[in-house]
């Protein structure tokens, strides 16, 4: 009996087993590679993925999870993990100076080589049939025949006679990559490597490793010690030797944010502007969308379908295109908006250099972008308001405005609320608008890190991390953590509002 139900529950066990086995093997192999690449954290995650996949798809007790596992794994890896990882980065010194892991930083230092200039030997490439030899005239040495296709890593040199056919320098250049991979052993056993377009030379490693945390610089015998609190090797004089590596630095980034006036002051102003921007955007688009929806619902209005299509056009056009179009139209010098304003009123507003005007411009563009969504939603909700309620109020002598504010609005506001909160959250992080329109500018004067008048929290973080000099990922992570606190609060409020809306619709 158990056998038959088992078979019924599993029409294509082969497909499941093959697919799952492939996934398990692939992630296990990735785990192996990641460990080998000195990325133990990702290695562990890949291993966990492999084990979990095996568990979910081969163990019958977990069969209920088979349907949700792929989606859940994706969310965990690329949504939840980045959130946690961002917070973690906030506690590190991760930046362009401290980019690598410790092992990788040591690897980079250990592969640094210096050329011994005194040992440089000029060479030419000589053709011999379909193979080549390197001819060192001054030393009278010639290499064994080579294909120079990049596959060779070593060759020997012997005393020999000058070759017959020597390639021109510009023809020899195409072998550059192949030459750089070569190690040539001279008859005395010493090794020379490619050191320039026309030279080979003795190349020595710059550092040798003494023990896990100390290196010796070969040229002057200086001993470098790894400082795991700053993420740099330091000389005895205290000089830091790049590249550095990532280390935990505790609350340093947060201390920096809160105690450096050049950071904390612009951040307060950015935070205030972010709230103002999000609030005004939601209220503005809601009011305008609702107004248009009410007009479009008016039974006596003709041509509704045409109006509707034209009115939602701003929503249908990809936003990155419309934002860039506005960027061009608002251009101070040759934008069409200033052109019209100048011919009509003699005005030439400085949309991109005046803080107040730049903020106004951002709000105008966001209103243009956002009202159709609100209008479409409002049209849907307005249909749900019973006509007889409005008629009854009108019979009692209420004017159209009074009817709207006492009957219609209170009925559509509760279901609208979660969407308004979601819209607030969206605009709170609407960095695409800011990045494409103004890149945060105009810059607030006198700040320690670039911060602009139209920057919102998200775009400010983006600039700290990716745009301005010294990609400061650690600092960006710390600021993002602060944003998370706000977003978390909004998310919770929205969650409660959605629950209420859901309960209400169930009770109905």
């Amino acid at each position: 009996m158990a056998q038959t139900t088992d078979r019924a529950a599993e029409p294509f066990p082969v497909a499941r087993i093959v697919l799952a086995a492939l996934a398990v093997l692939a992630s296990a192999y990735a785990a192996f590679l990641l460990y080998a690449m000195a990325e133990p954290m990702y290695g562990a995650m890949a291993l966990a993925l492999s084990v979990l996949t095996a568990l979910v798809y081969f163990w019958r007790g977990a069969s209920a999870w088979r349907f949700v596992f792929p989606g859940l794994a994706g969310i965990l890896l690329f949504v939840l993990f980045p959130v946690v990882y961002t917070i973690w980065i906030g506690f590190t010194n991760y930046s362009s100076f401290n980019l690598l892991s410790y092992d990788r930083a040591v690897q980079v230092l250990m592969s640094n080589r210096t050329v011994n200039k005194d040992s440089e030997l000029g060479f030419v490439v000589a053709r011999e049939g379909d193979r080549y030899r390197l001819w060192f005239k001054d030393a009278g040495l010639v290499s064994s025949p080579l294909a120079l296709d990049g596959s060779e890593t070593a060759a020997t040199l012997e005393p020999g006679a000058p070759p017959a056919e020597v390639l021109e320098a510009r023809d020899a250049i195409k072998f550059r990559n192949a030459l750089q991979a070569l190690e040539l052993t001279r008859p005395d056993g010493s090794v020379i490597r490619n050191s320039g377009l026309r030279t080979f030379a003795e190349v020595i490693l710059e550092y040798e490793r003494i023990d896990a945390d100390t290196l010796r610089r070969v040229s002057d015998g200086e001993v470098l010690t790894a400082d795991h609190s700053t993420g740099f090797f330091v000389t005895s004089a205290g000089e830091q030797v790049p590249p550095g590596w990532r280390v935990m630095i505790g609350w340093d980034n947060f201390t920096r944010v809160f105690t450096t006036p050049g950071i904390s002051e612009p951040m307060v102003s950015i935070f205030v502007w972010t709230m103002v921007f999000a609030t005004l955007s939601v209220l503005g688009t809601f009011a305008l969308g609702l107004l248009l929806a009410v007009i479009l619902q008016w039974p006596h209005l003709r041509g509704k379908a045409v109006y509707r299509i034209l009115l939602i056009l701003p929503y249908a056009v990809p936003s990155f295109i419309s934002i860039l179009v506005f960027r061009g139209l608002f251009n101070q010098n040759f934008g069409e908006i200033n052109l019209i304003l100048e011919s009509l009123f003699g005005l030439r507003p400085e949309w991109f250099t005046d803080a107040g005007l730049a903020r106004t411009m951002i709000l105008i563009v966001n209103l243009w972008l956002g009202y159709p969504y609100m209008m479409l939603l409002a049209m849907g909700f307005l249909q749900g308001v019973p006509e007889d309620h409005k008629k009854a109020a009108a019979l009692e002598g209420a004017g159209p405005l009074r009817v709207f504010f006492t009957i219609t609005l209170p009925q559509i506001l509760p279901p609208f609320l979660p969407l308004l909160i979601a819209s607030f959250a969206f605009n709170f992080n609407n960095i695409v608008l800011v990045l494409l329109m103004t890149r945060g500018g105009p810059d607030i004067p006198g700040t320690a890190i670039p911060a602009g008048a139209t920057d919102i929290m998200g775009s400010f973080t983006y600039r700290v991390a990716f745009m301005d000099t010294g990609t400061q990922f650690g600092l960006a992570g710390a600021i993002t953590f602060l944003i998370f606190l706000v977003v978390g609060a909004i998310a919770y409020v929205n969650f409660v509002a959605m629950r209420r809306a859901a309960n209400r619709s169930l009770a109905r």
Binding site: A8, V83, T86, L313, I321, A425, L436, T480, L506
Partner: protein, 296 residues
Amino acid sequence: MIVESPRRLRLQKIAAHGFLIIFLALILFPFAMVLSISFREGNFTIGELIPSDPTLEHWYLAFGLDYTRADGTVVSPPYPVLLWMWNSVKIGLGAALGVLVLSTVSAYAFSRIRFRGKAPLLDSLLILQMFPTTLTLVALFAIFDSLGSVSPVIGIDSHMSLVLVYMSGIMLHIWTLKGYFDNVDSALDKAAAIDGASPWQTFRFIFLPLAVPMMAVIFVLVFIGAVNEYATASVLIRSESQMTLAVGSRLYLNEFKYLWGDFAAAAILSGLPITVVFLIAQKYLVSGLSDGAVKG
């Protein structure tokens, strides 16, 4: 409202149409300008709404063709717009397909399969959905920078990485589909179970066919969302040949190389298909948007 004088009604009608027409003139002004600019000569010149001396130069360049001006000089396209479009389409299709597969299967499980921790899991997903990817760009950059050392296919500058990120934004769609599946009469799957169907068969032969209209909505939404996405793509894609339209278009209006006319033609060319798709599908898209957010 109940009894209105015909004269007052006529005035109201004129007022309503007047307001809508003036409003539309303001709203549609940018579109008219862009269309006009795309046919104007040069990238700076200021001209009339209907160009007196229309030229197809910008359109030639947008389509990736060289343009020979009247004086014999040849202009080459500044950027590979069609390649960027193709990149965007590839990424959009990949993300949309991935989201469909993951969200239908997950939504079915959340709607019909009993397992422990389902309710708290759903609630957590709902809250997690509020944390946008744009806030975790630093981490995403670090992750793909490291993964790239295993294989460039999942590293920086790879379309696969972008698809993976976009594919993970499935919470809202799971929620929408779950609401849809919840409304399916449970007699249907009970009947299927009596006939000996497995959960997979019930999903494959009963729920999946029912969800096709909803899936179409989600497909279009995800596709448009992926094509329009700027922030993540701008961080993960670096080389010009790998760029999506959203990232590449920014290059046109650089402070040092301002190609207003070329941009206008490229913008219309690339924006038109998505706009048309959206307008055709808008009725369904909007209900998909609001249902997903409200249904509990």
